[in-house]
Every structure is written in structure tokens, then in C-alpha cells.
Amino acid sequence: MIELKEVRKRYRGRNVLNGLSFTAEKGSITCLIGMNGAGKSTIMKAIMGLVPIKEGQILIDGKPRGKWMYEKVSFVPDHLTMPLGMKMSEGLTFMADFYESWNAERAAELMRFFRLEPKEKIGNLSKGTAAKYNLVLGLALNSEYVLMDEPFSGIDLFSREMIADVFSSELIEERGVLLTTHEIDEVEYLIDKAVILQDGKAGLEFDCETMRSEQGKSIVDVMREVYSR
């Protein structure tokens, strides 16, 4: 379980995270929902230790973060971080050199799943193709948790559909997935749990199916309620 407890973070004189607490469990897909600027990317980076937090705790399976977690938690940022001069195949080798938990077999499977051409140069990829390649890099690790920052943002319909297919496939089975989005339509039927961000806190954290069966509300209905109060 990834657990945030009362996390606070100030950025440019603003309280971006203001006592944020929530959990993301293994074997389920948790979605952080928030408007632009709600601090979604900051949360992801804070979990990965890429930005410092002022107060609060972030625990992975009950333990404070450390170097060990990079084999266990993989992060798919909202842009590719690989050197642009590399070919995609070279990028895969680069990852294999860095991570013990790299699974070359799964990487090859993912490259086929997304129909990516290993010989192509990373710098020449279209936005949609780059997003798919970015997912290959994150999902090919034998990690127990996968963090994905806006995996659907700004890419074409067919690429989005392909990426959505990942969520109902064995590629994420038994892992814990935490993703962020500001477009719910894409993920309405894919996620188990939603965390709605409001004023740097979790305005509401709920199980989507329970919400539907007990209150007859869709994720968007709940969002409207939270943001209008």
C-alpha cells in the first residue's frame, strides 16, 4: 500500500498540498482526480522522492521511502525522459542496465502490444507514440506499484484507446496502480478508487462501485458535488 499522511508542500508561496492523506492499494487502480494545478504531478513526484515535502509522511508498504523503492515502484511521468538521440531499442537497454527488476521479455511484449518499431529514434516519435513508449518503460519493470501521470493527456483517440486497454489487461494485474487525470470519461469504468483533490487535500476518497450501488452516482456526479461545495 502507498500511504500519504498529512502531506504538506509549499511551492512558490502557495500551499500546493495542504494536509493530503490517502492510500493506494496493491491489486487496485486508484485515480487522483483534480483540476489543472491541483497538485497531481507534485503528489506523484513527492511519492517518488523527486520533490521534497515540508511535512507529513509517505509510506510504501508501511516503510518510509528510500533507494530500495525504485525497484518496487515505477513512475511514468507525463513526458519522456529518455535521451532523444537514442533509438527505442537503446532506451530499453538503458533501462535494463539501470534496474534489476527490468523484465526484457515483458518489454518486448509491450513493444508489440503498442506496435512500436524498436529502430525508431526517440526524438522523432509523435506525441501518442512517445506516450506509449513511456508506458513500456514503466510497465516493463517488475514493480509492485506503477504511478502514471496523465497517461491520456493530449494524445489521439486511438492511442488513448490502446492505453486504456492496458488497464484491463494482465499487464497491471496484481500491481497497484496510481494514475492522475483531469478527464474522467477515459477512466470511468477502469478505476477501482477515486481520490478527488480539493484545496491541496483529498476532498473525497471513494470506491467507485460502492458509490454507484449505494448512492447511484457516477464519478462525475461526485466531482460536481465536491467542487460545488
Binding site: 486497454d165 484491463s168 497491471i172 477502469l190 478505476i191 462501485e209 454507484r212 450501488s213 464519478i219
Partner: protein
């Protein structure tokens, strides 16, 4: 395995539990003759991919259907639609009852004598069948309801 038709067209309602909508879709496919008694159904994982839903939701649908004896899973073999005729007949009665209830609720808004209504239903139903014969291709295939 015939898993061809009938899976892609599912349109979910975002305000109802998805797992129950999946169960309902199975029932509809059974009464429409698209899924026969004893027929092998897709695995949980396949269903998740086919319907583009969360794997846990697919799992929950199967659990619900197993509890209601709609499907049976023996050991490691793939799940199948039940061969229990009483269950299948109950599903048919359930869906038919719901459809008639909805029809009655809608038609109650109009003041109409029951005989006139029945005649109208009869002629419309016959007309609909002649345009698009239900189960015509399944005639004599044995395993239908």
C-alpha cells in the same frame, strides 16, 4: 470458443454498478440465444479486455454469477453457462417481467381499453418479428431455452 458477437456493443451506465450491468448483459445474451446452456464463456481477464472494464469488476461479475448459479466453474476448466433449466427459465421470466412492467408503466399514461392494447401489441409484435426474426437461425439447434 464462440465469443464473437455481443460483447462490443455494451454501453454502460455510469450511475449503476458496472458488475451488475455485466451480469445483466450475460442474462440478455442468454435469453437472446447468443449464449447457450453449457456454453464456455470468456475468462475473467478476457472479459475485462472485451468490455474494457477493470479486472476487479470483471472478477466481481463472475463471483456474482457463480453465486446466482448462472455460471459454473469446475476445477481449472473454463467457466460455462449453467445447464440448469430452472435457472435459465427464471432468467427468462425475470427479463420478460421487467420488460412488460416497463411497457405497462409507459402505456398507463394513455387511456386505452385492454383489448385494443392487446390487438395493437399483437400486430406490432408480429410485424417486428417478420422484419427481424428472433432466434430464427437457432431453430432446432437443441440447446436453446
Amino acid at each position: 470458443m464462440r465469443t464473437g458477437g455481443g460483447w462490443e456493443e455494451v454501453e454502460f451506465n455510469s450511475r449503476e454498478p458496472v458488475y451488475l450491468q455485466v451480469v445483466r448483459h450475460f442474462k440478455e445474451m442468454i435469453v437472446a440465444g447468443k449464449l447457450g446452456a453449457g456454453q464456455v464463456i470468456p475468462s475473467r481477464r478476457e472479459l475485462g479486455t472485451l468490455l474494457k472494464i477493470n479486472p476487479n469488476t470483471a472478477q466481481r461479475s463472475y463471483k456474482e454469477m457463480e453465486e446466482r448459479k448462472l455460471i459454473v466453474t469446475e476445477g481449472n476448466s473454463p467457466s460455462r453457462i449453467t445447464r440448469d433449466d430452472s435457472v435459465l427459465q427464471a432468467i427468462r421470466a425475470e427479463l420478460l417481467g421487467e420488460a412488460v412492467d416497463a411497457f405497462v408503466a409507459a402505456v398507463r399514461k394513455v387511456d386505452v381499453p385492454v383489448d385494443e392494447l392487446l390487438d395493437l401489441v399483437k400486430s406490432k409484435y408480429i410485424e417486428a418479428l417478420s422484419v427481424n426474426p428472433a432466434h430464427a437461425d437457432k431453430e432446432g439447434s437443441g440447446e436453446r431455452l
